[in-house]
């Protein structure tokens, strides 16, 4: 069997809300798998169930052929888990944290030093500093080092890049890519769509439901419509006018631009321009672009609603 994590018809209910609704996912061995979705979509709940911290209401998960409910003890030995919130001891130093986690996993820092060398060497100059006094990026590197110190088979990362600067985020993803070489299955959740393209495969999750599971390239390919990027002098007015336009399928704001899809199979750029000019907008620029993950996500969300 080449799957590392098998999730089938998983459901978790909080009070009356379905936090997770019939989730089915198959994550291959050695895969860098991204769970992408906005806050409150159910990412943390799913990761915590896989991590044996929460019990599912129905459905099953097996990881490396072990059941998360029955075999949680064995699973905790092969997991590296990094919770969304920094969860190491802030009053212990970097090296004390690392040694502590190495010991509780029955190993030593020296034994698996190769695995964490690239990451740990960056924070080693600060090894006698207390974890609480590290910067966000360094904390995250320490947390990753601690999660890896026992050479886990499966790495579960819950929003590892939230609250981390752009440079550290990029570095972090490079580290994950490097880790794949060591036969580790990596399951990572993130609210940042731009990080999705760095994963082998991604699952888009919204309101406890998986919208799509694909490689990042295929997800954008599945985007069935032509996407237009529009900008003008007054973005807000254009947005408002387009929402009242009879052919508008979707219009969303992306930075300084608007991303627009049309109800017609082939959008008529000139007629859109004319409509906007009539409404008193100036300097209108329209061009066709390739959709990104976020466009796909928005599109899938609308589809899901209908």
């Amino acid at each position: 069997m080449s799957n590392s994590i098998e999730i089938s018809s998983l459901t978790k209910v909080y009070d009356n809300t379905k936090a997770l609704n019939d989730i089915n996912l198959h994550i291959k061995k050695n895969e860098l798998f991204g769970l992408i979705g906005p806050d409150g979509a159910g990412k943390t709940t799913l990761i915590r169930i896989i991590a044996t911290l929460l019990l599912p209401d129905s459905g099953t998960i097996t990881v490396e052929n072990l059941d998360v409910v029955k075999d949680y003890k064995s699973l905790r030995k092969i997991y590296g888990y990094m919770p969304g919130r920094f969860s190491l001891y802030q009053d212990l130093t970097v090296i004390e944290n690392l040694n502590f986690f190495a010991t509780v996993f029955g190993t030593t820092v020296d034994e698996n030093y190769d695995l964490i060398k690239d990451i740990y060497s960056q924070i080693e100059p600060f090894k006698n500093r207390r974890a609480g006094q590290l910067s966000g990026g360094m904390k995250q590197k320490l947390a990753l080092s601690c999660a890896l110190i026992h050479k886990p088979k499966v790495l579960l990362l819950d929003e590892p890049t939230t609250g981390v600067d752009a440079v550290s985020r990029k570095e972090f993803w490079e580290m994950l890519k490097n880790l794949q070489k060591n036969d580790i299955t990596i399951f990572v959740s993130t609210p940042y769509m731009d990080e999705a393209s760095l994963c082998d495969r991604i699952a888009l999750i919204q309101k406890g439901k998986i919208l799509s599971v694909e490689t990042p390239e295929n997800i954008t390919k599945q985007f069935g419509k032509q996407l237009l990027q529009i900008n003008s002098d007054n973005k807000y007015k254009v947005l408002k006018d387009l929402r009242n336009y009879e052919f508008t399928n979707s219009v969303n704001s992306f930075g300084q631009f608007l991303h627009y899809t049309d109800k017609r199979s082939v959008p008529e750029v000139q007629s859109i321009k004319n409509y906007l000019n009539e409404k008193g907008n100036s300097n209108i620029n329209i061009k066709e672009i390739m959709p990104n993950i976020e466009d796909c996500f928005m599109d899938l969300m609308i589809e899901d609603k209908n």
Partner: protein
């Protein structure tokens, strides 16, 4: 084993790195022993007494001088009962003695007379102690009259031979400090063990570190032992530290075996640490834990017999004390230190603590979950 040692090591590092911890460990016992022992003393040295002498005879003067001679009373005079009552209302007097007119005459003629005592009982303890002291003085005074009139009434003279001599066992000088300091020591180790262990576990919940710990192969028993042992050691150290202070400052006697004392302390502390653990299972924040702990500790301490002997409590309260671990240990400590009791004498209390400890520990371990 390596895991447990590593957890213990981690706990000690954290405790000693916490800037408020060291003062808590060293300053609190000193302050508690110094302030509470001196402040809570029941030895009363300045009872304000007003004498309303309506008799004004040598005998009434003699009675008054008995009070003046006593170290416990500050004696004043008042012309009338209503004047004296006003002083009680203004809180300037604690006791009034009314010596009625014809006091001396009645004693010589009719062989008996009456005295009236009025006590300010706002503070009931103070009033009853003042009452005890006054009774004692009047009793002595009475004995003297019988003695002096012995020649006239030979049959009553027989009574004078019964002379009451009190001897206070286990605390011969009725030194209140010995009683109090032994009690304060119990409170001290109770609070250190209960609150520190509870707070520590809840802190792991609050800071989220428990989330990381839970996804490790650490077994429940390893985690709990690793958590409890550091605080057991700290509390035993506190006990030793407190005992030393009490020995030096109050000459607290060590009549019994210290080994037995520390042995019982370990059993008691395991009970308190388990209660702390149990409270932390039911609390999500340190604040919640503090309120739960405050409630139990307050009730347990006041019922434990630290200020008033548990035996004088009403029946229902004494029954309630069966579930009060502090009262058992309070008894054990005083019996070993003051009375020199051996294992045989405290076996019942000790057994109660063993049962208590195993029940709470089991319950806490069962209730402690590594996942939701």
């Amino acid at each position: 084993m390596r895991t447990i040692i590593s957890i213990i090591k981690k706990e000690f590092t954290q405790v000693f790195r916490n800037k408020t911890m060291l003062p808590i460990i060293f300053v609190i016992p000193l302050v508690q022993l110094l302030v509470l022992v001196y402040a809570a003393s029941l030895d009363m040295k300045s009872i304000n007494l007003l004498v309303v002498d309506k008799d004004l005879t040598p005998l009434s003067k003699e009675l008054e001088s008995k009070f003046t001679a006593s170290p416990f009373f500050i004696v004043g005079n008042s012309i009338s009962v209503s004047e004296a009552e006003k002083e009680i209302l203004n809180n300037n007097a604690d006791v009034i003695i009314v010596i009625p007119q014809g006091f001396e005459k009645n004693i010589t003629n009719e062989n008996s007379s009456e005295l009236q005592f009025l006590f300010n009982a706002i503070n009931g303890t103070k009033a009853s102690i003042a009452n005890g002291y006054s009774q004692r003085i009047v009793y002595d005074f009475n004995q003297n009259i019988i003695l002096n009139s012995g020649n006239l009434f030979p049959e009553t003279a027989e009574f004078q031979k019964i002379n009451i001599e009190n001897s206070f066992w286990y605390n011969p000088r009725l030194d209140y400090k010995i009683y109090m300091s032994s009690g304060i020591l119990v409170i001290l180790v109770t609070i250190i063990s209960l609150i520190l262990s509870g707070m520590n576990l809840v802190r792991e919940k609050e800071s989220g570190t428990i989330e990381q710990i839970n996804v490790t192969p650490i077994k429940k028993y390893q985690f709990i032992i690793g958590k409890l042992i550091p605080f057991l050691i700290i509390a035993l150290f506190e006990l030793a530290f407190g005992l030393t202070i009490a020995k030096i400052l109050f000459k607290l006697p060590f009549e019994g075996s210290l080994l037995l004392l520390f042995g019982s302390a370990i059993i008691y502390l395991i009970t308190m640490l388990s209660i702390g653990l149990l409270m932390s299972v039911f609390s999500e924040t340190q604040q919640q834990l503090m309120f739960i702990a405050y409630f139990f500790v307050m009730v347990f301490i006041l019922m434990s017999g630290i200020f008033t002997p548990a035996e004088t409590m009403p029946q229902w309260a004494q029954k309630l004390n069966y579930i009060n671990p502090i009262s058992y240990f309070m008894k054990i400590v005083r019996m070993i230190l003051l009375k020199g009791s051996g294992l045989k004498d405290i076996i019942n209390e000790l057994l109660a603590l063993v049962i208590y400890g195993s029940l709470t520990l089991t319950f806490a371990v069962v209730k402690y979950r590594k996942r939701a």
